[in-house]
């Protein structure tokens, strides 16, 4: 009963917040983006123990695929992205909304398939090699796309603006992100309770033993990565429409921005927990916006320092700290004797 009350109150906050804070609609949408990417990073990083530094690859690829699908359904892509194009290429309302729907879903599917293919190569790598390998994929993809003229090269792609009232447009994108985020959260909550979640956790704890127990580890790893890539791809697609114009290195394959933020969010909130990424993303976003506003010019230094401090001194994150301080909230019973021994 208390749970139902809690979740319905939460849902009410989600639905009401863009109307309560109309000036912050874009900010809130970005917050949802952070929550989505953090939750998806935790699917492999926290639950499976495979720390990818290259999940931003799926974000950038999602952006491009969504944009190319939308453009390709109406206009020839090569002419549309040509920098010297002079005539206008317009989209009707119907074409725009079909583009958003088909583009984002197509982006998710494309990313899931590419995760399954890339996983064949990268999942042979263990520990830090996996992190470096995936980081390499993201950097290489950004460099290659910025040299590919058919998709606009270094200039990036200009998408059509939301047709109609722009305030309604902000609401539209907020609810797209929020809907994806809520769906992802419910999906994760369900997934971590299933046999699949248990198998993935077994891979994190000891991959050799998991394999010896008869778990087909590669299949589980590929599925988990493909699932997380699907949601990152969808989020990337929505971002593409929200940002209107994007270019490869700074927006799409932004390795050192969002690509590293999602890892820090998860570490800050608590790795391998359901609520950790959500709390971490909210805390990180607030810290980031405050430093962005008050430490002009030094914000990156502050963020780098935050990363170092989080990683070095506070790796269990907020949730880990809470579990340690208030184990009874999580249904963990601590026997009196153990406490006495610990204190002694």
């Amino acid at each position: 009963m208390r749970k139902i009350l809690f979740y319905s109150a939460l849902l009410l906050v989600i639905l009401a917040s863009p109307f309560l804070f109309p000036d912050f609609r874009t900010q809130l949408a970005t917050l949802w983006l952070m929550i989505i990417v953090s939750l998806t990073w935790d699917m492999t990083g926290g639950q499976m123990g495979y720390n990818s530094l290259g999940n931003i690859f799926f974000y950038g690829t999602g952006m491009y695929v969504a944009a190319l699908i939308t453009i390709g359904m109406v206009h020839p892509v090569g002419e549309y992205t040509d920098a010297s194009r002079s005539e206008l290429m317009l989209f009707t309302d119907g074409q725009y909304f079909t583009g958003v729907l088909v583009g984002c879903l197509g982006a998710g599917l494309f990313c899931a398939v590419s995760a399954a293919i890339l996983g064949y190569v990268t999942f042979g790598l263990r520990g830090p090699y996996f992190a470096i390998g995936t980081l390499g994929i993201a950097i290489a993809a950004g460099e290659l796309v910025s040299n590919w003229d058919w998709v606009g090269g270094g200039q990036g792609i200009q998408l059509p603006v939301y047709p109609g009232n722009l305030d309604i447009g902000k609401l539209f994108f907020y609810f797209l992100f929020a809907g994806t985020g809520v769906a992802l959260f419910i999906f994760c909550k369900w997934l971590y309770g299933t046999r699949f979640g248990a198998a993935v956790n077994a891979i994190r704890d000891d991959e050799e033993k998991a394999e010896a127990m008869g778990i087909h580890t590669l299949r589980y790893k590929l599925t988990a990565w493909a699932l997380s890539a699907f949601f990152v791809g969808v989020a990337g697609g929505i971002s593409a429409f929200q940002l209107i114009h994007f270019e490869p290195l700074e927006t799409a394959y932004q390795t050192i921005n969002l690509g590293i933020f999602m890892v820090v969010c998860v570490l800050l909130g608590g790795k391998g927990t359901l609520w950790g990424p959500v709390i971490g993303a909210i805390a990180f976003h607030v810290i980031k916006e405050v430093t962005w506003n008050y430490l002009l010019g030094w914000q990156w230094v502050a963020l780098g320092a935050l990363i170092v401090v989080t990683v070095v001194y506070f790796q269990d994150g907020i949730m880990g700290w809470l579990v340690h301080k208030r184990p009874e909230w999580f249904g963990i019973r601590v026997e009196k004797k153990d406490v006495g021994e610990e204190a002694a």
């Binding site: 720390n51 190569v121 460099e143 290659l144 040299n147 963020l303 320092a305 990363i307 990683v311």
Partner: protein, 303 residues
Amino acid sequence: MDQILGNISLLFQFPVVNLKIVVDGLMIGAIFALSAYGLALVWGVMNVKNLAQGDFVIAGGYVAWWLAKKGMPPLLGVPVAFVVMWGLGWIAYKLVIARVIERDLFTSLLATFGLAIIMAQMLNLLFGSDTQSIQLQYDTLYLFDGFVDIPIAKLLGVLMAAALAAGVVLFMKNSRMGQAIRATAQDARAARVLGIDTEKVYSFTFSLNAAICGAAGAIIVMVWVIQPFYGITHSVRSFVIVTAAGLGNLPGVIAAGLGIGIAEQYGAHIFGIGYQQAIAVLLLLLVLVFRLIQQRRMRQSLK
């Protein structure tokens, strides 16, 4: 596509172009090998994967560039960068690295990534985001009817890199500290039992690595260009070289460094200069996949 084929056919029509690419690649690769050797040292001794490696290189470059701008002789920048980066490396060790040695490998990777972001941004704030280089007033040697040009400055850079590498190798072989470092790399616990202050060895090793990188950067700024955000590419190159060569394999590191220098020059010639960064990264992926296939084969014998 036609352009790529044209570039390839050019290599066959004029074989002397190959020679120019190889010479250029060797000269750049010698400097890559230097920072890769530092990475191999830190990786082997304290098991820290330093993603800030390239940013140490760039920081050393800026030290030399700043000195040259103040009117000092440019060659003085190399020893000064060595000393300054030694100090910076020591500070970085005490603040961050000392606390991640015992932790799992991803921690050190992420912590040094944070360090890399801080350093790149500090350099950006201090010196601006333009590309910088030092122009040395030396002649250029022309060989083979002017097809192969070797600027004396670059040759000087290679010689300095070789001298530095030789100095480090001699130091590791003969001095007490070098012996202590090698002993710690073999077995830190046994070294501690035998009375080696491993904490001191760690801080010395990391400072030495930063200093080597700084000197490499001071050479790079004379023969090439630097920019605050070029660090990550240098880090990736170091990782490519060390992963390809393996730890504790100095001839391998040098060979791999020269090899990646040549491969990058060929790639830039065939695909165009815009792909140079992408080629460095793709080489890393190729090396990783190659190592993976090697290990797969080993694993099959266990079945």
